[in-house]
Symmetry: C2
């Protein structure tokens, strides 16, 4: 599944892993080299680099190598796209539950009317 249909596939896929989310969290505070990003994790560098490659392929970060240091920075568009999608879903869901609440309220008023 190399090619994602939508950028949402890519964004959510990257974010499904705790290591990768931690990297994003760190990078939201500012750019950092690979070494520093890898430090908090128990895994070896090759394994960690795979996560970085996934993040970059999925468009959530970008990186640039200067000398022997590769500096990574967060790429906010994909994050925003994911957030926007979730926000829209919540909006739709709330619209539904609001209609339900209205309906329940209406039914209750009727019951009271009938009881009077």
């Amino acid at each position: 599944m190399e090619n994602y249909q939508s950028s949402l596939d890519a964004a959510f896929h990257s974010l499904a892993d705790p290591t990768r989310r931690a990297v994003i969290s760190r990078l939201t505070k500012g750019p950092a080299p690979v070494k520093e990003l890898a430090e908090p994790f128990a895994m070896g560098l090759p394994a960690f680099m795979k996560h970085l490659r996934v993040l970059e392929k999925d468009g959530l970060i970008s990186s640039e190598k200067i000398g022997r240091v590769r500096t990574c920075r967060v790429n906010s568009e994909r994050l925003t796209a994911a957030e926007t999608w979730l926000c829209e879903q919540r909006r739709l869901w709330q619209a539904g539950t609001d209609r339900l609440a209205d309906y329940v309220e209406t039914q209750m008023s009727r019951s009271i009317e009938n009881a009077e």
Copy 2:
């Protein structure tokens, strides 16, 4: 990776697939039986059911079988958790870029002062 460390792992994992996102999208408008949910997709029912099982295992939907019909509904907490995380990341990232903007502005004022 049966057990997720965090509910975010589960939420983002489920959302990484376009079929599953479409199911969520449909369910935000209200509950629906499996048959109706499966209709728009080219794949067979067994493959589709796997997606539903993933969604349910990951806590994004719940379902109940009455007679021979299984009705699914969306489970908003996990979606909210994911949205909250993304929102927080954006907040942090914006704080950073705002600081950067301030810094650039300060530097520019100084250049102008020096030039005068």
